[in-house]
């Protein structure tokens, strides 16, 4: 059922491929697909009119379907935050408040659309659409299953980076055109922040590109498929051929990609302006940052774009590092790829929300310190390391993957060991300091209170 649906979705979405736009003859399969579709059903029209018509319809469907993701995410955010904060969250609209976001959307649409009289009206109107467009254009290159991919570009991941870098411009224009000093501050902060954090993001992605030796998103997913088993099923369980393993995922392929994953994830939180890096819209400092002056539907557009961005960066992380739409079962996808990548993505999104509702916000200089003094050097180290790793292991083999896994586990275990062993021996003051570093005191204290309580009950 899901596969049927997804293949139908493919029929529509694949038509939007960029190849159809290029003046090509026979080089791009996607273009043929769309042309074939157009000529078959709209043959009575001149060829290109039919094609443009089909593409417009597809684009409309795309724009109509993708915002459902933010819709779900907003609700998820509210529910997750409610659970974390010991509340129930929205409960009134629909069962368990499921329709709350919809109600909010309706409310926002009918709200008065205020434009400050001193604002630059043209740019003020334009900025939300720029951000919206860029956020959604990213989805065109993310493979959601082996069939659902709008366009498999040669430069897939690079296209994503380039499009998402334009969001910064939208934010700046929004902040500047509001003619409010708080908005301007938000815009300036975000300009500095987004431009800075694009570097560790790009460099982390580069490690993956170096490992996969392609920039195509499909290619990167394929590179995480069965390198360990080299196409042969490792084991056959109940008639299902288990081909890949988690160890094939890019994150475990070398110690450096493992690091790169965390660098990418941290930086992408900053890229989408979420706590602890939500300085452009820090509500306790800048009121609401760059969208202070926006209301009604324009504000909703920002909101949707923000959540679309959140989903996009998590989907990219899942694609690049966590095997994309591939499960660990066979190629014919026992579970539909769409569900798998959604599962992985929502897991990452959940982690982002978890972080958001737990941590305070950094200050501007600390934000920049983190980026320039830690993340970027680590990223360069990763690239160097990946290059050297690649010299030693030209092909992924059982040896390389085993070694990588060994190093990663040693790394993790030693960090955990340092943390937990040394903690008990410290003075309270040192504990406070260390707790700041790793939050182990939090664990420790929770553990003791838990023990005490359970001890008391017995």
């Amino acid at each position: 059922m899901v596969q049927q649906l997804s293949s139908q979705f493919l029929h529509l979405t694949s038509l939007l491929s960029v190849e159809t736009v290029t003046p090509s003859e026979g080089s791009a399969p996607g273009g043929n697909w769309a042309q074939a579709f157009a000529s078959q059903f709209l043959g009575f029209l001149p060829g290109w009119i039919g094609l443009v018509l089909v593409m417009s319809v597809v684009a409309a469907v795309f724009v109509a379907v993708v915002p459902l993701v933010p819709l779900v995410l907003v609700l998820m955010e509210r529910k997750v935050s409610a659970w974390i904060q010991d509340r129930v969250g929205p409960m009134r609209v629909g069962p368990w408040g499921l329709l709350q976001t919809l109600a909010d959307g309706v409310k926002l649409i009918f709200k008065e659309d205020l434009i400050p009289p001193q604002a630059d009206k043209f740019l003020f109107r334009f900025a939300p659409y720029l951000i919206f467009t860029c956020s959604f254009a990213v989805f065109a290159a993310i493979p959601f299953s082996q069939r659902i991919l709008v366009s498999d570009l040669n430069i897939g991941i690079f296209y994503i980076i380039s499009i998402s870098s334009v969001v910064a411009i939208g934010v700046i224009i929004a902040g500047w055109s509001s003619n409010s000093k708080w908005s301007l501050f938000g815009a300036m902060r975000s300009a500095a922040q987004m431009v800075s954090y694009e570097i560790p993001i790009g460099l982390s992605i580069l490690t993956v590109i170096m490992m996969a030796q392609t920039m195509s998103m499909e290619g990167i997913v394929a590179a995480q498929n069965g390198a360990f088993a080299e196409g042969e099923p490792i084991i056959t369980l109940l008639g299902v051929e288990v081909k890949g393993t988690i160890l094939d995922w890019m994150i475990f392929r070398s110690p450096f990609t493992f690091l790169a994953f965390f660098v990418y994830f941290l930086s992408s939180i900053a890229e989408v302006n979420r706590t602890p890096f939500d300085l452009p819209e820090a509500e306790s400092e800048l009121v609401a940052g760059f969208h202070t002056e926006y209301s009604g539907m324009r504000f909703a557009v920002f909101f949707i774009a923000e959540y679309a961005n959140v989903f996009a960066v998590c989907a990219i992380a899942a694609t690049l590092f966590l095997g994309g739409w591939q499960g660990i079962i066979d190629e014919d996808q026992f579970i539909p790829g769409l569900l798998i990548i959604f599962g992985k993505t929502f897991l990452l999104v959940f982690v982002m929300m978890w972080i958001r509702w737990t941590l305070p916000r950094l200050r501007v200089d600390q934000l920049m310190n983190l980026c320039w003094k830690y993340l970027i050097p680590i990223s360069f180290f990763n690239i160097l390391g990946t290059g050297i790793w690649g010299l030693f292991f030209r092909e992924d083999s059982a040896l390389s993957i085993g070694l990588s896994f060994l190093i990663i586990s040693l790394f993790v275990v030693s960090i955990l060991g340092i943390v937990f062993n040394s903690f008990g021996k410290l003075k309270p003051a040192d504990q406070t300091a260390l707790a700041g570093n790793i939050g182990a005191a939090n664990l420790q204290k929770l553990k003791t209170t838990w023990n005490e309580r359970h001890g008391q009950q017995k």
Partner: protein, 394 residues
């Protein structure tokens, strides 16, 4: 592992040469984190604050002028509206002053013992509620939203207790001149005990959640240091002074009411070199409040365990007509020393009533504290000195 917190130390001495023109921004009176209607005139060089000039008076309700036209008992509800977060303590401070004024009158027998216990109970509960709010909003100022809701969840329980006690949730008008307005409702002490049993472990949880958080430390440790001399010169009292390392609490040092009967500590700020904490920085000011909640719990527990004496809850008196004279009386409110200066001419109304507000004094230090810091630090300072504009503007 990311960084010792040397960054904050560096910033202390950081002076950026101005390259661009100054930008003047009004922070407030409508701003999410000015804790009311405070307006700061920020003179900025980029993110660096050259000068933050506080403008107050947006919540000025002529309390002192009103008071000159009201009888003493009628003034009590007005004190509620000063520091509406800790209204019990405001009532109490005013009543103390009037009672001191009346002590010259031989007909005034003094506050009954039971009333004193009830006052301590209400006052300390309100101190917890007030510090909880400070903790929650401070977390929100720094960018953590969740502590705020935790704090409000627990503060709600205290408000419910107060509602049982006096019918009001915010402006209690409970402590009256000569005693308190009504006796305990049935089962109230059990409710209080249940609450403090529930609440005491929560403080450690909050410390784990926010106080020791790495980012929180980065944001508050070593920021805006108000040392002891500066705090005294600015008249900053309460947690702001204790955060600077001075062990000074009127409840211990000049005990009023029955505070000399209770065993509790006065938490003061501490230097933690490993974390970079300096006496008088934002973190210490904040931390003192967290520790004070524990001490308040201790006091409440002693009130409950010691057993309340029976007896009247309000002194027998005909009319509150203190003899002519003047008095300046201080009490330890959650935000510092609350002083009332009352001049009486022997009538039922004061000739002059001046409220010396702790927030007013602490806020006046903001201008000096904030020089050369960043916008985000201003927020951290305002939260850490914990102002309530109702009390500043009166």
């Amino acid at each position: 592992m990311l960084a010792q917190s040397t960054a904050s130390e560096e910033r202390k001495f950081l002076e950026l040469k101005p390259f661009s023109d100054e930008m003047v921004v009004s922070m407030g009176p409508q701003h999410p984190s000015t804790h009311g209607v405070l307006r700061l005139e920020l003179r900025l060089d980029g993110e660096i604050v050259r000068e933050a000039i506080p403008h107050i008076g947006y919540l000025h309700r002529c309390f002192e002028k009103h008071a000159e036209n009201l009888s003493y008992q009628q003034i009590v509800p007005f004190t509620d509206r000063m520091d509406y977060i800790a209204a019990m303590n405001q009532n109490w401070g005013f009543c103390l002053a009037v009672e001191e004024l009346m002590s010259a009158d031989p007909k005034f027998a003094g506050v009954p013992e039971r009333a004193e216990y009830l006052r301590v109970l209400a006052g300390e509960l309100n101190r917890i509620a007030s510090h909880l709010l400070a903790f929650g909003t401070y977390g929100m100022d720094i960018g953590a939203f969740t502590p705020f809701l935790y704090a409000f969840r627990d503060r709600e329980k205290i408000l419910l207790l107060f509602e049982k006690l006096c019918g009001a949730r915010l402006t209690y008008n409970y402590i009256r001149v000569g005693g308190v307005s009504r006796d305990l409702p049935p089962g109230f002490l059990d409710d209080v005990r249940e609450f403090i049993d529930y609440f005491e472990p929560k403080i450690d949880e909050y410390n784990a959640l926010l106080t020791n958080n790495k980012i929180f430390l980065e944001r508050t440790v070593g920021v805006a240091i108000m040392d002891e001399a500066m705090a005294i010169s600015y008249g900053a009292t309460g947690p702001n002074l204790r955060g600077a390392g001075r062990k000074w609490d009127l409840r211990k040092d000049e005990p009023y009411s029955i505070y000399d009967r209770f065993d509790f500590d006065i938490p003061v700020g501490e230097e933690i070199p490993e974390a970079g904490a300096v006496l008088g920085d934002c973190w210490n000011r904040y931390k003192v409040r967290m520790d004070e909640m524990k001490e308040s719990v201790k006091i409440i527990r002693q009130v409950l365990d010691g057993g309340l004496p029976d007896g009247p809850i309000v002194a027998a008196m005909k009319a509150i007509r203190p003899p002519a004279g003047e008095v300046f009386s201080r009490s330890e409110a959650p935000r510092g020393e609350l002083g009332f200066y009352i001049v009486s001419d022997g009538s039922v109304k004061p000739v002059r009533l001046k409220a010396k507000s702790p927030c007013f004094c602490a806020l006046s230090a903001l201008q000096e504290l904030s020089r050369g810091l960043m916008i985000a630090d201003i927020i951290a300072i305002i939260g850490s000195i914990d102002i309530v504009m109702g009390e500043v503007d009166r």
